[in-house]
Amino acid sequence: MASAVYFCDHDGKPLLSRRYRDNIPLSAIDKFPTLLSDLEEQTNLIPPCLNHNGLEYLFIQHNDLYLVAIATSLGANAAAIFTFLHKLVEILSDYLKTVEEESIRDNFVIIYELLDEVMDYGIPQITETKMLKQYITQKSFKLVKSAKKKRNATRPPVALTNSVSWRPEGISHKKNEAFLDIVESINMLMTQKGQVLRSEIIGDVKVNSKLSGMPDLKLGINDKGIFSKYLDDSSDLPPAASAATSDNKKEDTDKKPSITSSSTTSKRKVNIELEDLKFHQCVRLSKFENEKIITFIPPDGKFDLMNYRLSTSIKPLIWCDVNVQVHSNSRIEIHCKAKAQIKRKSTATNVEILIPVPDDADTPTFKYSHGSLKYVPEKSAILWKLRSFPGGKEYSMSAELGLPSISNGNDGNRTIPKNNAEILKGPVQIKFQIPYFTTSGIQVRYLKINEPKLQYKSYPWVRYITQSGDDYTIRLT
């Protein structure tokens, strides 16, 4: 597959590399920066896969880095290579926190070690960080004296090649707990008039497992493996009542270590087909396939157990009525009215409304009653932050910014653009979080934990939250 993997700086010049095969010239990567710059000169279109002189350059970007893999054959699995490169970033993020030019330079030893382990002859091998951390440790060189001891310590865990390759044996926790976070991210594209063009829910079930031994877990969610939704196609207010609550942790612990199925009073249950469920590799896929039961031996610590997507029409949870008026060469006026269209007892938190303004705006003046409002030139936008936004409330603000009297000469003699899309380059973006609430109505009915040998008492916890996805936007036209 891949003949080599490179970490390159923002110009595409190599910082660190590992060659896995000898079938490409040493100088192969030197072409990469020129390849990029030549392309940039001609077009804005830079696909992540470039061909030069019979070599294929596949790359992703992360912070100020390019991660590049070079392959020699059209037959190489591009999907696997891209996924691998992203996985590599993920692993390194676990080791180095931030993966950027500087941290790559500073940690070359551990990166070489990892590169040796995660790929062999261009074929991805072991990428499970939890396991890698067992035998590739950052501080393996404390003292020379302890070298003998270490020889034993740095053996690869036996489990590595087992069918449960993500969990070593002999894990022990004092308190056996499992935390479940159900996070639903809403992506929504709206017009300025409030029409919803596209909406979807992306759900994530995150687990933080602090359980001893080799526990076998069984997760039950409302309905038989496929849960129901409380949504309404005619897009009424999303019933906040559906929020499966576990507000009170104490209550849970006091009562019983399993999850109380929330007693929703919601009326309509519509079966939804949750087609693209995706599971962590620990989930027994065929078991789910045949019996619709989610069973798994979890990795220790945090991981994403499953995710799902629902493409369904929802009414905006946070809606903004935005009005932008651009007076060229003079000023820009913005009026915005935001509304939390959620149940009164719910509250949206950390609401951020980002409204684009021209690059060269100046002297911002604001009028607003709630939250904080500031100009963020690095994003060419103004940002309205509302710490908490109770359901049913409506807040408004207005802003005015100056525009230079002289247009930027860079654009030559181009006439003043006619539509906002050209001046403002981008939509209004909204971010928010709504705790104790899921839009889809997903609920955990139970999480059974069974460690056949240890038979300990265990405590599962569940939290729900709805938040904006990476694309909750209002188009300005």
Binding site: D11, E41, N410, G412
Partner: protein, 156 residues
């Protein structure tokens, strides 16, 4: 003779440290020149000649430690060998002014560098003064005038 079209100072990392244009060009042309030339020149090996062709003109460059001095010249008119001497003169002059000039001096005192440059190279990109001392003399006098400003209004 020499008739520069532009002078660009670029660090080894490709960062622009100074630029001066002597011919009228559109902003996009300028941006294109900077963008294209930098990687080309940084990629050149030490033994290669210091003259390259770019678009409709030639470019003479010279590396001093971590800095590249890049100069666009007028084909047929310019004497490329002399251009290299002009660059060298400029570096010498800065060296005397700052006293062992280094890249940081240029970064933080770019307006001084422009002052020196404007005494050395005239508006059409030709050399204006070949005497180093003469150049430095006038720059220093003006520097003194600036600092006297605070004491008395020299100009009024």
């Amino acid at each position: 003779m020499t008739q520069l079209r532009y002078l660009i100072l670029v660090s080894r990392q490709g960062k622009i440290r100074l630029k001066k244009w002597y011919t009228a060009m559109s902003a996009s042309e300028k941006a294109k020149i900077v963008k294209n030339l930098t990687p080309t020149i940084l990629a050149r090996k030490p033994k290669m000649c210091n003259i390259i062709e770019y678009s409709d003109h030639k470019v003479v460059y010279k590396r001093y430690a971590s800095l590249f001095f890049i100069v666009g010249v007028t084909p047929d008119v310019d004497n490329e060998l002399l251009t290299l001497e002009v660059i060298h003169r400029f570096v010498e002059t800065m060296d005397t002014y700052f006293g062992n000039v280094c890249e940081l001096d240029i970064i933080f005192n770019f307006n001084k560098v422009y002052d020196i440059l404007n005494e050395m190279v005239m508006c059409d990109g030709s050399i204006a003064e070949s005497n180093k001392k003469e150049v430095l003399h006038h720059v220093t006098v003006m520097d003194t005038m600036e600092s006297n400003d605070n004491l008395e209004r020299v100009l009024s």
